[in-house]
């Protein structure tokens, strides 16, 4: 597995140093291989990888609009079928394209059962336009449209449960992942591509610019999200959770305090009430998915 993973996603792209989404692009292509057609939504990944004529994509790639990648993918899948071609189709969108503006197209494509894989790189806000809140923004995260202030503690709403919504469409395979575990991403992408029908993978992709942390901490923050139970890595097959990453859980503040978007929960004064609410979200996740490794008592 070591080494030559950048063959299909070229150097020279314009992502910020330490970009989680850039790593997502590389890992997807590494797992999918060259017989893959990629459909990108408008967003950071599209913009940092394709200023004309400098494309970083060495597989066939298409961008149309912000909200229509799964409809475009539907058409590609239909054309390939008619032409008797066997290439795989991957639609990639950020969380804004996926959770919000592209929802109707995704719902339609999944309901129709086209054979493609949808991958959401989830950096939990509209990063390309300057860190505005999306339906994927976690509770209490401060964004430029849900800022923390004297009478606000950041985003007042919980994160939408997209994987469950798409599982309810009858998607045969739904998974979550984080860039902190590259081998896991590769495995899940391969599994999705090998599963007939519309599959969905949601990848936690920390954004140093939007979340406010030092670039070298991208992987560490991905791990902390899982270790605190604020992000759960799991697989759903035919609507049932079949595999969950278990952890010895850490308190949520170990994740929160690493990022500027949650700084208002600690400064100027610590907000125990809000931190407790976020801890409760993690606790519910832990109970719902059974992620806790119970340590034996001596």
């Amino acid at each position: 597995m070591a080494g030559q993973t950048c063959d299909l996603f070229d150097c020279g792209h314009r992502a910020c140093g330490g970009c989680g989404a850039a790593l997502v692009s590389r890992l997807i292509l590494d797992a999918a291989g060259e017989d893959t057609i990629v459909v990108s939504s408008t967003g950071c990944m599209e913009v940092f990888s394709t200023p004309y004529p400098e494309t970083a994509w060495k597989v066939p790639w298409i961008h149309s609009l912000f909200e229509n990648n799964s409809a475009v993918a539907s058409g590609i899948v239909a054309a390939l079928k008619k032409q008797g071609r066997k290439e795989k189709v991957i639609a990639i969108g950020g969380d804004g394209a996926t959770f919000d503006i592209g929802m109707i197209c995704i719902s339609g494509a999944f309901e129709r059962g086209h054979d493609f894989t949808y991958i959401c790189y989830d950096n939990e806000a509209y990063m390309n336009t300057g860190i505005q809140r999306s339906g994927a923004t976690p509770y209490d995260a401060s964004t430029t449209t849900s800022p923390a202030g004297k009478c606000a503690t950041g985003n007042p709403l919980p994160k939408k449960d997209m994987p469950k919504i798409l599982a309810a469409h009858g998607a045969p395979y739904v998974a979550t992942a984080t860039i902190a575990y590259p081998a896991d991403i590769r495995k899940k992408v391969k599994k999705a591509l090998d599963t007939p029908g519309p599959c969905y993978i949601q990848i936690h992709a920390p954004c140093c610019t939007g979340w406010g942390f030092e670039a070298e901490k991208t992987m560490e923050i991905g791990k902390l999200a899982v270790e605190t139970g604020l992000w759960v890595n799991y697989e759903m097959e035919q609507g049932e959770v079949t595999k969950v990453k278990k952890v010895v859980r850490k308190p949520v503040e170990e994740y929160l305090k690493t990022q500027k978007r949650f700084r208002h929960l600690f400064r100027p004064v610590r907000n125990d009430t809000e931190i407790a609410k976020i801890q409760a979200i993690a606790d519910r996740n832990a109970e719902k998915y059974g992620i806790d490794i119970k340590l034996k008592k001596d």
Binding site: A2, Q4, C6, R26, Y52, E54
Partner: protein
């Protein structure tokens, strides 16, 4: 060069953009300490670390943005970030 019809292009030109010029800190690789695990080349968001024939990582400084993920994550502490001298 004629424009690509409909704003299309074949791959190859991305490499014209040498992102190494963005770098403030530069990763230096100590091959003595390296365990050849391949993690750094796997997780580099630029994809600019290659493994040589002996399995040792070789960065391409033309593209390395100096994000420091490789140094942070290296299990053998074989990579250190040094202030870029320009």
């Amino acid at each position: 060069m004629a424009l690509g019809v409909g704003c299309s292009a074949r791959p190859g030109k991305a490499r014209d953009n040498k992102t190494g010029s963005w770098r403030v800190f530069k990763p230096e690789f100590d091959h003595e300490k390296c365990s050849r695990c391949g993690l750094c080349s796997t997780i580099c968001p630029e994809g600019c670390i290659r493994d040589d024939e002996e399995g040792l990582p070789v960065p391409d400084y033309d593209y390395c943005k100096g994000c420091g993920i490789c140094a942070e994550e290296c299990p053998s502490d074989a990579i250190t970030m040094k202030q870029e001298e320009k």
